[in-house]
């Protein structure tokens, strides 16, 4: 397991890694969300021994900590991972990852570049420049959590408060857009 924090500051990540032995990398430029077309966390990708994507972007949790909130059980994915490690058998058949993951739109790509500029200016202490670029990024990709929610702490907004609930309402309304396999939810009809 290689954990990658889509975060601006390694020191914010460090408390999450107490007692963890897996490698933890920090992706402050959001390279992964561009290269792998990720639009939210947690997202997992299975990569086989030959460097092939065995199972594309999927929503999955390591524990049931947020189960009541997300409606996603961790065990289903964990069982599938164990079976894959033991037997090499993948639990979902994906012929065409274009259909599952889809491509980033031009706006989603541009939003990533503007986010990168905004985060850089935030680190450089240019609050106005950061806001200018982050706001423009959010306008281009309002349903992308790696843009809109990730920008919240950099814009002085609470990523667990009102701005998140506003975003979630819009995201539900839009049919929960996600680049990858959505997890089965226990509250799904």
């Amino acid at each position: 397991v290689i954990a990658v924090a889509i975060d601006d500051d390694p020191e914010v990540v460090r408390p999450f890694t107490d007692g963890i032995t897996m490698p933890v990398l920090v992706d402050r430029e959001h390279l992964l969300t561009e290269l792998y077309a990720m639009s939210n966390v947690p997202t997992v990708v299975w990569i086989d021994e030959r460097g092939r994507i065995a199972r594309p972007n999927s929503e999955a949790f390591g524990t049931d900590t947020f189960r009541e909130f997300t409606g996603v059980e961790a065990s289903r994915h964990l069982d599938a991972v164990r079976a894959w490690v033991r037997t090499g058998v993948v639990d979902v058949e994906v012929d065409d990852s274009d259909d599952v993951v889809g491509d980033l739109s031009d706006d989603e790509v541009r939003a990533r570049l503007l986010f990168r500029i905004g985060a850089h200016l935030h680190r450089a202490g240019d609050a106005e420049g950061a806001e200018r670029n982050l706001a423009a990024a959010v306008d281009l990709a309002p349903m992308d959590f790696t843009i809109r929610r990730a920008a919240m702490p950099l814009r002085g907004l609470d990523p667990f408060g009102e701005p998140l609930f506003d975003m979630l309402a819009e995201w539900e309304e839009a049919g929960r857009p996600y680049h990858g396999l959505a997890a089965e939810r226990t509250d799904d009809p």
């Binding site: 890694t17 933890v24 920090v26 390279l31 992964l32 990708v45 274009d98 790509v109 500029i117 200016l121």
Partner: protein
């Protein structure tokens, strides 16, 4: 002349002149900023050259030695770019077609990222093994 920041494969700064929507730098700066060299046959990296069908889009002055437009170079390389002129910050993304082909062909795109102590690790470091890439965040 102004100092710009380039966020590409790594972060660097350069002297540039911004004219309209062009970001002009000395051609000798290209290898350092974007990893490519401007030659007669096009943009080159090691033994690979990308021909330039419209040289004026990359080098508006036309003559060898004239300054090159970083946005034109990015476009010629198929890389998306965004320039914030008020702060002089240019971000250059991954080549769009290579990224699309990799994902459509189920090939894991290569990357290299630092750990918490700043030590860089390429995805290749764990080759020949099954890897579960887990993206998470504090937000």
């Amino acid at each position: 002349m102004t100092t710009i920041t380039v966020l590409a494969d790594h972060e660097s700064t350069a002297d540039a002149e911004v004219v309209g929507d062009r970001v002009l730098v000395a051609p000798g700066e290209l290898p350092r900023l974007l990893g490519w060299t401007l030659k007669a046959q096009g943009l080159c990296q090691d033994d690979v050259c990308v021909p330039l069908w419209d040289r004026a889009a990359v080098q508006p002055g036309g003559d060898a030695g004239e300054r090159v437009d970083l946005l034109g170079v990015a476009a010629a390389l198929g890389r998306p770019a965004a320039f914030d002129d008020r702060s002089g910050t240019l971000a250059v993304g991954a080549p769009v077609e290579l990224r699309r082909q990799a994902l459509a062909g189920h090939t894991a795109p290569a990357f290299e990222l630092p750990d918490l102590d700043g030590v860089l690790h390429p995805l290749e470091a764990w080759r020949d093994r099954k890897r579960l890439l887990f993206a998470f965040a504090s937000w």
